[in-house]
């Protein structure tokens, strides 16, 4: 749900609604929960396919932002032409693990272009999905050359030599603090219940990532099917979420594996904390 803009005319469409600028020179299309998410490039092409008479002259950079609720979003500006008349388009997207919302501003008066771009960006920032704190995927840079095996919200990254090199990096979803005692405190019972025995857990180490996020790490050694194995679990934390990463290794963890783990941990982008509302003046 986005705030309605004072003076803009609301029109209900089949699967969206539009807001028309008081001057008639610009229109904003809002489609809430448009379905399963798709990469932004695919969404851009889908929307533009609906306006076949437009010719794209230039595309701006993709700008990443977060909504006031902390959902990941992006905007993209395009300069187009329609029968030799300039048309400025600004597209905005909010993408979650399960859905996307799109906002498209179409401006046919050059004088309004900045205002429409600003409006779309603010509407994106104030999109209210009310999904709340939940288990969710977060952003990081995967290890180069490793291949993903994804199951639900968990992604396991496997190195080029797998399975001969029986190591993997498991990225679990971020979990709200209130629901997150599973990773370090309950690590040993979890491993025992998975059919492993002879479990020893090292003392927890603490530190901060390159970006200043605090973390706690623990190495656990155990035996599975008569084979010695070990795992290192790192849990980062911000004000709202814990971000657990797990390195599963053989009898020991070598430097290359530790570096892959450290690089991934350093690349984690925490969810932005909930922002303050600076939008109310727009809707008066």
């Amino acid at each position: 749900m986005i705030p309605l803009l004072a003076g803009w005319e609301l029109e209900q469409l089949v699967d969206a609604f539009s807001l028309t600028h008081p001057s008639g020179g610009a229109r904003v299309f809002y489609r809430e929960r448009g379905g399963r998410p798709k990469p932004v490039g695919v969404l851009v092409r889908m929307i533009l396919a609906g306006w076949p008479h437009l010719t794209i002259k230039s595309t701006g950079p993709l700008e990443r932002l977060y909504t006031a609720e902390g959902e990941a979003a992006a905007t993209l500006a395009l300069e187009c032409e329609d029968a030799s008349h300039p048309v400025s388009i600004v597209l905005g997207f909010v993408i979650t693990d399960e859905l996307f919302t799109s906002i498209a501003g179409v401006c046919r008066r050059t004088a309004l272009a900045d205002e429409v771009a600003r409006t779309v960006r603010e509407l994106v920032r104030h999109e209210k999905l009310a999904l709340g704190a939940r288990r969710r995927r977060f952003e990081y840079r995967p290890p180069t050359g490793w291949q993903p095996s994804r199951q639900g919200l968990v992604t396991e990254w496997l190195p080029p030599g797998y399975p001969r090199h029986a190591t993997s990096l498991v990225v679990h979803p971020a979990t709200p603090h209130a629901a997150a005692d599973a990773h370090l405190d309950a690590l040993e019972p979890y491993i025992v219940s998975a059919g492993c025995d002879d479990v020893t857990t090292d003392a927890a180490e603490t530190g901060t990532t390159r970006h200043g996020m605090p973390f706690e790490a623990r190495t656990v050694r155990f035996r599975r099917k008569d084979e010695r194995r070990c795992a290192r679990v790192i849990v980062l934390a911000d004000q709202r979420y814990q971000y657990p990463i797990e390195l599963r290794a053989g009898t020991s963890i070598d430097d290359t594996e530790l570096r892959a783990l450290a690089d991934l941990v350093d690349s984690i982008v925490a969810f932005e904390p909930t922002g303050t509302d600076a939008f109310t003046h727009w809707i008066k």
């Binding site: 990469p39 932004v40 291949q147 992604t155």
Partner: protein
């Protein structure tokens, strides 16, 4: 994906068939696609189609959705 082409010749060194194959490796699995063509002309004629098919192969282990959340924010399709 590794792509190689090979020529099947008869004992007079004349081309009997042209084969264009792609080999894919995913973890412990391998897969291959091979196009068999009568000659170079046929290959040139069908090349765009063959390249599209070879590039479209997706091991079933790959999810149709991005493995990493950041990939939702890519403009170019992977």
């Amino acid at each position: 994906m590794v792509v190689r082409s090979l020529r099947v010749i008869d004992r007079d060194n004349c081309t009997v068939e042209l084969r264009v194959g792609a080999v894919y490796q995913m973890l412990a699995y391998m897969g291959a696609i091979v196009a068999r063509l009568s000659d170079d002309d046929a290959y040139q004629r069908e090349r765009a189609t063959i390249d599209t098919i070879l590039a479209s192969a997706r091991p079933h282990l790959w999810s149709h959705e991005p493995a990493c959340f950041a990939q939702w924010f890519e403009l170019e399709a992977q």
